[in-house]
Amino acid sequence: MKLAKRMLFNKRGSLIGAVLAVTVGILVIHVNFVIFQGLFDAIVRDISEYRNGDILVTNEDDYIDKSDSTIVSWFERISYVEAATPRLSSTAEMEITKNGKLIEKTRIPVVGVDPFNDIRASTVHETVTEGTYVFSRNSIVLGNTVAKDLGGATVGDIVKVMIVDRWGEEQTKRFTVSGIAKSPGGQGFDYSAVIHIDTLRDMTNRQDQTGSIMVKLNDPTKAYEVKEFFLLSFPNDDFMAETIEESAEQQLAGFRSGIAMINMIGYFGMMSSAFAIVTIQMMLVNGKTKEIGVMRAIGAKRKDILVIFIFQGMLIGAIGAGVGTATGLGYTIYAKETKMSFNNSLPLEVTYNWEKIIQTALASFILAIIASLYPSYRATKLLPVEAMRTG
């Protein structure tokens, strides 16, 4: 073992090359993980915080007829639940007069919220960059893009909103813009408008109905448990309750395959580092042909030679995995501490996935050993006399 170490450490260039190959392989996976998994988690976070909560309750067919306050109270009695809030959605046509000019915009998504509960169960109110969140029956928060489309609507402007109710009648109401919402990542309400849920109920003629109940948990790992308990408690109400993974599945499916592909690229990177190790180990074997011949001549068995080069592979793997993991963790810490964002907008959700970190380090270590097998085997095949003559 001492000899194996010496042989390797005396060839510093080869050692550094092999270790770098492993390090880069691991680093690529860590960087991919930080960026793409971080992006994925950030989107999950935003969907959860802005739209679906940890559990989203809807009706199997259309709208929830049960009183929203009953459902909210039921949820808030559970210790795992932070808060719950009702939501109702529709689309509207909007008009605004800016500088004497009438500007119209159609098919704008409108979300009705209960301001009191909403600020506890969701962080949408934090995306209001100008003005305040919905606070009264006639206040409206415009998404940044909607505000732009309406000729640069600002806080205090009056917006005329027209909604077709459940009977097909057009209902019109004037709102005062109380705030402009802007959030990165596309999951916020930049393309929507937010009004009081009771106003939207009146306008859509759905006075006792709710579109969904968004439930925020203080322990998201209990989502499935709470969901099942809810469904068992209301067996006859045609409720549908979904965890964030279930409710956002469609939106996340594309990202999942993207991440799988990026991970595969990372693993291909790791495979290339294995080829680099094979090359470097072959160089080491070729450079030590004479020494191998001498060792065989003075009694080293083929197994002893095999062990020397496999041990070198283990050393390369261990050092590479150590340095790679340390560098990768360094990058992850940097990303977390600096609140790294994607495209300078969406803050990444950086997590330390220890299972994956250990898995990657172990995979690199094992790959380095596997990559050493062929060169080691070649070394054992050298005949002592030939090796001493040609080395």
């Binding site: 001492k2 000899l3 001498v294 003075i298 068995k301 002592p384 006399v385």
Partner: protein, 214 residues
């Protein structure tokens, strides 16, 4: 064409035997066969009453490690190791721990290298390297030390020192040496000289006593 044919001789314990002959005569091939680095297509080689031609690869390695010592023309030390570590290498290969380090130091003292123990093998002179090789060849107390042109790469003064050292070690340790050389003059009196010509043992000369001149 046969590299060696009809070669038959025996060596007694403690003898210093020279194998001489012109280049390409087959003397190194003969030494490699005695050293189990090469195997004959026909015939047998007995060392310590063991027919070495029947051994498998692992047994050959063990046999080489325990019963044979090697000194090569270019010393062939492992440059990554120190002088002392090179001498200890056969013991480590045998799986012994370093309890025999004292033996190695004694041997290095005997070859006059007690002040070079921890020097890297590639930092010493050719003569010193060959002395280390002698110590390495002797560390396992082998039945035979096989030396292939041990002075072939040295100047005449150093060559004589190495020859004298080998002969004195042979006498002191009652150690059998089989030495291939094309320069018989340097060795003076030895116990036996086998002359190989065209792959055959052309002449085997035996001498009753060996004079040691150190």
């Amino acid at each position: 064409m046969k590299a060696l044919d009809d070669v038959s001789f025996s060596i007694e314990k403690g003898q210093v035997v020279l194998i001489v002959g012109s280049s390409g005569s087959g003397k190194s091939t003969l030494l490699n066969m005695i050293g189990l680095l090469d195997s004959p297509t026909n015939g047998n080689i007995f060392i310590d009453d063991i027919n070495t031609t029947t051994l498998n690869d692992n047994e050959i390695s063990s046999f080489r490690n325990k019963k044979l010592g090697f000194i090569f023309q270019f010393s062939n030390l492992l440059s990554d190791l120190s002088v002392l570590e090179n001498v200890l290498l056969p013991l480590q290969i045998a799986g012994n721990d370093l309890t025999s380090e004292e033996d190695a130091i004694d041997l290095l003292k005997a070859v006059g290298l007690e002040d070079q123990l921890h020097k890297r093998a590639n930092k010493i002179s050719g003569g010193q390297a060959q002395r280390v090789a002698i110590a390495r060849g002797l560390i396992n107390k082998p039945s035979i030390v096989l030396a292939d042109e041990p002075t072939g790469n040295l100047d005449s003064v150093t060559s004589q020192l190495i020859v004298d050292l080998m002969k004195s070690m042979a006498k002191k340790l009652n150690q059998t040496f089989v030495i291939v050389t094309h320069d018989r003059q340097h060795f003076g009196n030895v116990d036996k000289v086998i002359t190989i010509k065209d792959g055959k043992a052309f002449q085997v000369e035996e001498f009753s006593t060996m004079e040691i001149t150190v």
